[in-house]
């Protein structure tokens, strides 16, 4: 395949769970690397020491303000990547690292962790802890179509990515409370239960048709709000679900059904 895009995985303060989620596409990951994207930077998988120029940077983890190297690297990432994706709850919203208070071995002074959007402009958010393997796959395929596809494919990819770009503009704080503030308080919740299914720590139950959030348990990953059909819903994209799923399966070499 000609015109592959270049992708890097930039590791900030994260647990490598998001990278594992990317790898959880199994042979799909090889397909992506064979046909669509060259992995030009990835501390875990590629022997490249310095952040290179790249089309898409998948950033995992939040930035430790006391870690000079991380602060420098996130700024460098913004300068060198065309598209910066906050991969996962930590990069997008701080997630569990929001609760850090320092005092750990080796670097006890490391105590303030901020989502990358507090320091740089971010183009696309992929919330959750970690984002589903299939969500990362879909964004990879769409990023490829956006940069290398024909006009129709560009239009579809643009429409698909728009809500994730809007999330990046919405802010760097997320919490189960978003369901209260932006869905229930807005008279939009219809009790479908999707938020409860999406929460990785099971902080949400549905009581009398509405989500109940155990705020002690919420790690602020942003999955519930992003997954709620009443946070964003694009008829243009979702109404074409059958065709899009077929197209993605086709792109991943699973066509024929």
């Amino acid at each position: 395949m000609v015109n592959k895009i270049t992708v890097g995985h930039v590791h900030m303060s994260g647990c490598t769970g998001c990278l594992v989620s990317l790898a959880d596409n199994y042979e799909g990951l090889f397909k992506i690397l064979d046909d669509y994207a060259d992995l030009v930077y990835c501390l875990t998988l590629a022997d490249v020491r310095h952040i290179p120029e790249m089309d898409v940077a998948l950033v995992e983890g939040s930035v430790c303000l006391q870690d000079e190297c991380s602060v420098r690297e996130i700024k460098e990432t913004r300068e060198k990547a065309k598209v910066v994706v906050a991969l996962g709850g930590c990069a997008a919203y701080g997630n569990i690292t929001r609760f850090c208070r320092g005092g750990q071995w080796n670097q006890p002074q490391h105590e303030s962790y901020v989502p990358i959007g507090d320091l740089i402009d971010v183009d696309v958010y992929l919330p959750s802890c970690p984002p589903g393997a299939e969500a990362i796959r879909n964004v990879c395929v769409m990023a490829y179509l956006l940069l290398q596809g024909n006009d129709d494919q560009k239009a579809l990819a643009g429409a698909y990515l728009k809500p994730l770009m809007d999330l990046a503009k919405r802010g760097t704080e997320a919490c189960g409370c978003d369901l209260m503030v932006d869905v229930i308080n807005q008279g939009l919740c219809m009790g479908c239960g999707t938020c409860a299914a999406s929460c990785p720590v099971r902080a949400i139950t549905i009581e009398y048709g509405r989500p109940n959030i155990d705020r002690e348990m919420c790690i602020k990953c942003g999955a519930c709000y992003a997954q709620c059909p009443r946070s964003f819903f694009s008829f243009d994209v979702v109404n074409q679900f059958e065709g899009i799923i077929e197209a993605i399966d086709g792109a991943m070499g699973k066509g024929g059904e």
């Binding site: 989620s21 959880d24 992929l126 919330p127 959750s128 970690p130 984002p131 589903g132 393997a133 299939e134 969500a135 879909n138 698909y160 728009k162 809500p163 994730l164 809007d166 932006d182 807005q186 008279g187 939009l188 919740c189 219809m190 009790g191 479908c192 239960g193 999707t194 409860a196 299914a197 999406s198 929460c199 990785p200 549905i206 009398y208 048709g209 990953c221 999955a223 519930c224 992003a226 997954q227 709620c228 059909p229 009443r230 946070s231 964003f232 819903f233 694009s234 008829f235 994209v237 979702v238 109404n239 679900f241 059958e242 899009i244 799923i245």
Partner: protein, 287 residues
């Protein structure tokens, strides 16, 4: 797009008398899941099972025909069926998941397949999604007020509820029927339904409802390749009686009329929301 994309529309009912007995309409949902379960098309289905209070649904993962039968009939109250979508693939270990839901739940499902952020291992495991037509839904307390205060029936003695021909009807175990004009129920509707732009579950594989078909029969839209595959096999195997929808009364004209009415009304609500405050609006989820 009032009725959504579909390949075929028919009027149908289940061939199995046991299924028909306590099903809401033509028993389409229960019969199609039972068939799919028998054939291994699904390993189980998320349905609205009986809850701890009468007509208060509780989502369950049904893996047997008996469980499907126990979940028959419409509960006009919120059943958060999507709540179990990830659980079904995890704790229950299903590889092929069936799910029934209202149009909004079908929207949630398809969004979850396309944007599976918190939905690891869900997208590829949806084997059969059956949508049920829906004009509005009631919070449980709302349903209780309708049945107990307006219809004068104890929730415990109700055996079936039904909406049709402009009336809300409750049937009791002693054979009584209590009806009130549908208008009296409007104030109990859940607010989230007033921005809903789908009546006939456009995004399901197969969607069904009573409207359009004679009593005891259902109107069925077969929408996707998956839906067509399962439906045509089930019909060929004799699991359903079908009639040409063009030959039944009141037919698709009524479905179109109701669907258009719902969409127009709710579109208007969305427009009013845009200037609800002074120089400020409420959120519109549809971008």
């Amino acid at each position: 797009m009032v009725l959504g994309n579909y390949k075929t529309a028919v009027s149908a009912r289940a061939a199995d008398a046991d299924i028909l007995k306590c099903s809401q309409d033509g028993g389409i949902v229960t019969q199609l899941f039972a068939y799919a379960l028998e054939e291994g098309i699904i390993d189980g289905a998320i349905v609205a099972g009986p809850g701890d209070e009468p007509f208060k649904p509780e989502p369950i993962v049904a893996t047997s025909k008996a469980e499907l039968l126990a979940a028959r009939g419409t509960k006009y109250s919120i059943s958060p069926n999507m709540m179990l979508i990830k659980e079904a693939t995890r704790s229950y270990g299903l590889d092929k998941v069936g799910i029934v839901g209202t149009p909004c739940q079908m929207q949630a499902l398809r969004k979850a397949q396309l944007y599976p952020l918190g939905m690891r291992k869900v997208p590829d495991k949806i084997a059969l999604a059956i949508g049920i037509f829906c004009m509005e839904n009631f919070p449980y307390q709302g349903l209780e007020s309708i049945v107990e205060d307006h219809c004068n029936i104890k929730m415990e003695s109700a055996v079936k509820m039904d909406i049709g021909k402009g009336k809300f009807s409750v049937y009791t175990e002693r054979g009584a029927l209590s009806q009130i004009p549908l208008g009296a129920t409007h104030k109990y509707e859940q607010p989230g339904c007033h921005v809903c732009l789908d009546y006939v579950a456009n995004l399901a594989d197969v969607s069904t409802g009573s409207v359009g078909s004679p009593d005891g029969w259902s109107t069925v839209f077969v929408r996707t390749k998956k839906g067509e595959d399962v439906w045509s096999k089930a019909v060929a195997a004799g699991y359903f009686e079908t009639k040409d929808i063009a030959g039944v009364k009141p037919g698709l004209d009524l479905v179109t009329k109701l669907a258009t009415g719902k969409i127009d009304k709710n579109q208007k609500t969305l427009e009013e929301r845009a200037s609800f405050g002074v120089g400020k609006g409420l959120r519109n989820p549809y971008i």
